[in-house]
């Protein structure tokens, strides 16, 4: 069906809908994720999570047939912009969801806002979009980038660690994470090390860490960097000797490559696969049945994005043309989320609990994440005040 035919069909259906009050046109959702190259593991999990929610509902959300259009941004901002323009101009989508990495998120924010498109974010939550560049049309079913570090900062303070050594790659997210940790950490910083982006070998940094006399380590190494770091931290004989607090370093995409090697590592997140929440239990069981692996938090976030959209479409009776009504319905976040109840702040980021997890064996003996505490309750990000 080409665009003109489609537009005509939409017009017809809408006309019919306004008379009968039923049989609305399909809702079109554009899903943007990184599906090729080095970041593909995260993007693939997001797509799998979103698809699972759709399948469970027979291809419908909020009782409406969903046409899901998927695009790969290759982790390149310019390709992301092009894909979003395709969603907006060519596919005439009603909603955009997904987005894996912050650099793509920053690039697509302006075209989305300019076209006044409703957006449901499933992972990336860069600081500017929570603050100065916030939009009333954006809802992040995930978390703001700093949050996972903040909860560990609070945890370190609660535990009474006095000298923490901070490590992150030298790029924006890495620096934001260190700032986030320090925001809630009251002790002294034993050292601050920024490694090269995609650095394979950390032996030099680990030697320095040992010389610094720290009593705990905070590390943020997403993707393959995390696998490298944990393996080498363990081989240097440090795991178990020093508490290791991490963000995005031992998540569901990295643990299968680490297994027992990561046992004892601590991680901050808003959700873990051991959650006792009934919605979460059902999701984990369904995901394992379909894909044969423990879902990562990225799969959970995307699944939750679909649930959020589902709840909003239910409320509006499937109407997407009234953008204000749709956004009010999304803002209510009135559904059984995997993380339990939460609400949206004025910037479209959740005000939610953050937990600390330990890498441990689950009931089936597999290495997974086990919740050990909830240092931050109903936590809001630091930038919401800048959102006017």
């Amino acid at each position: 069906m080409n665009t003109r035919q489609h537009a005509a069909a939409v017009a017809l259906a809408m006309a019919a809908g306004s008379f009968s009050g039923a049989s609305l046109a399909d809702v079109r959702i554009g899903f943007l994720a990184t599906l090729s190259g080095g970041g593909a593991a995260l993007g693939q999990d997001m797509v799998d999570g979103f698809n699972l929610a759709l399948e469970e509902r027979g291809g419908k959300l909020g009782g409406q047939n969903i046409q899901l259009l998927k695009e790969d941004d290759q982790m390149k901002p310019d390709v992301g912009v092009q894909a979003v323009q395709k969603f907006i101009e060519k596919e005439k989508v009603d909603l955009v969801a997904g987005v894996t990495f912050s650099n793509v998120m920053m690039a697509v924010a302006k075209p989305l806002a300019d076209a006044d498109i409703t957006f449901v974010g499933s992972n990336a939550g860069p600081a500017p979009l929570a603050g100065k560049l916030c939009s009333k049309a954006f809802f992040f079913a995930s978390w703001q980038n700093d949050n996972q570090a903040e909860v560990l900062g609070k945890y370190a303070t609660d535990k009474g660690y006095r000298k923490v050594y901070l490590m992150a790659p030298n790029y924006q997210s890495g620096r934001d994470q260190v700032v986030g940790f320090k925001r809630f950490y009251k002790g002294t910083v034993a050292g601050e090390v920024y490694t090269q982006l995609n650095q394979p070998d950390y032996s030099a940094e680990l030697a320095q860490l040992q010389a610094a006399g720290a009593d705990a380590v905070y590390a943020f190494f997403p993707g393959g960097m995390g696998v490298n770091f944990i393996k080498q931290f363990k081989q240097a004989g440090l795991l178990g000797r020093l508490p290791l607090l991490t963000a995005s370093t031992v998540d569901g995409t990295q643990l299968p490559a680490l297994k027992e090697m990561a046992l004892g590592t601590l991680a901050g997140s808003f959700w873990g696969p051991d959650s006792a929440n009934p919605a979460s239990k059902a999701f984990v069981a369904a995901f394992e049945k379909k894909y044969g692996r423990i879902p990562s938090q990225y799969a959970a976030q995307a699944y939750d994005s679909a649930l959020l959209i589902d709840s909003a479409l239910k409320k509006t009776g499937g109407r997407v043309a009234d953008k204000v009504a749709l956004r009010n319905a999304l803002r209510a976040a009135d559904y059984a989320s995997l993380r339990g109840a939460y609400r949206f702040g004025p910037n479209g980021f959740p005000i939610q609990d953050f937990h600390v997890f330990e890498v441990a064996r689950d009931a089936g003996g597999r290495v997974s994440l086990k919740q050990v505490g909830t240092p931050l309750k109903a936590h809001q990000d630091a930038y919401a005040g800048e959102c006017k």
Partner: protein, 306 residues
């Protein structure tokens, strides 16, 4: 910074350099003797790591996994050279770059289709997971093993090239290809052997790093760039250059990451030092290469052409 820590960091630099040498030796042989730029060298390294991880999962033996990494990629190298790459030997460098770039895209995707997009499991066997104590700092024993393997390979290559008949042919080929062919040597098979040997060394490097790095699609791309830096600094085609270039790059990179931020912290306020230090250390290797090439365009140890 204490002298003990400095020594440990120098050891780390040596270890990284030795790893780079395993990669660089193959690349520089193929480039210097066959005049063939193989961007897919990083993909061979990736396959080495995957083969090793697969073998380790199947057998649980570290020795078998390293053997699988080297032999698997040696055979793979011989096959792809015989089945296709030999056509490229006679093309100009740009065609080789373009074709092998295509091979890189293909290999990364094949790895992803077979083993998935996420990193796969590979660990160090218990027996080698210990760390030894050096000046009060614990140092992973496995790193010492990497250094030892790298040095053994370096000596082995030296003996192969300087003391054997095949080495003589390789040396002759590097200086004057057509002359070797004219003497009745089957240069096609010699080329295939060199290519497979280089591939096998890349596979060995991949197998050796499997336990310490993330085994995932595209893992060979960043190391390829650093390896190219090494062989250009060392002088293309020279094994000695590759060895010394790898050590120089390994040490400069490691000390750039550790000593430079330390020095900056002494002279600048912490905030500025934390901003400037990491940026400068990312540049260190590239600045080194730019300076060396600007002064000695043929690298530090150029091979004499006749």
């Amino acid at each position: 910074m204490s002298p003990e820590l400095l020594f440990i960091q120098a050891l780390n630099g040596l270890q990284f350099g030795v790893l780079l040498f395993l990669m660089a030796a193959g690349l520089t042989l193929v480039f210097g003797i066959m005049s063939f730029i193989n961007l897919a060298h990083g993909s061979l390294y990736m396959f080495g790591a995957y083969f090793a991880a697969a073998a380790y999962q199947a057998t649980g033996s570290f020795l078998v996994s390293v053997g699988a990494g080297f032999c698997g990629v040696f055979v793979l190298g011989a096959l792809i050279d015989r089945c296709g790459f030999f056509v490229l030997h006679r093309r100009d460098h740009l065609d080789q770059v373009l074709a092998t770039f295509g091979v890189v895209l293909f290999s990364n995707e094949v790895a992803r289709m077979i083993w998935g997009a996420s990193p796969i499991f590979m660990e160090l066997p218990e027996s080698m997971a210990d760390s030894i104590s050096l000046f009060g700092l614990s140092y992973p024993a496995y790193r010492i093993l990497i250094i030892a393997v790298g040095l053994v390979v370096a000596v082995g290559l030296y003996l192969l090239i300087e003391r054997t008949r095949i080495g003589m042919l390789i040396r002759a080929g590097a200086s004057n290809r057509s002359m070797v062919a004219a003497l009745g040597v089957n240069i096609g098979w010699l080329n295939t052997f060199i290519f497979a040997l280089g591939a096998g060394l890349a596979g060995l490097a991949g197998a050796m790093v499997g336990p310490i790095l993330s085994v995932q699609p595209g893992m060979g791309d960043p190391i390829l760039i650093t390896t190219l830096v090494v062989i250009v600094i060392g002088g293309i085609g020279s094994i000695r250059g590759a060895f010394l270039g790898a050590l120089v790059v390994g040490v400069v990179d490691t000390l750039g990451r550790t000593v430079m931020p330390f020095v900056l912290r002494q002279s600048l306020d912490p905030e500025t030092a934390n901003t400037v230090g990491p940026a400068l250390s990312s540049l260190a290797v590239y600045v080194l290469m730019a300076v060396i090439l600007a002064l000695k365009p043929d690298g530090l140890f150029p091979v004499k052409k006749r």
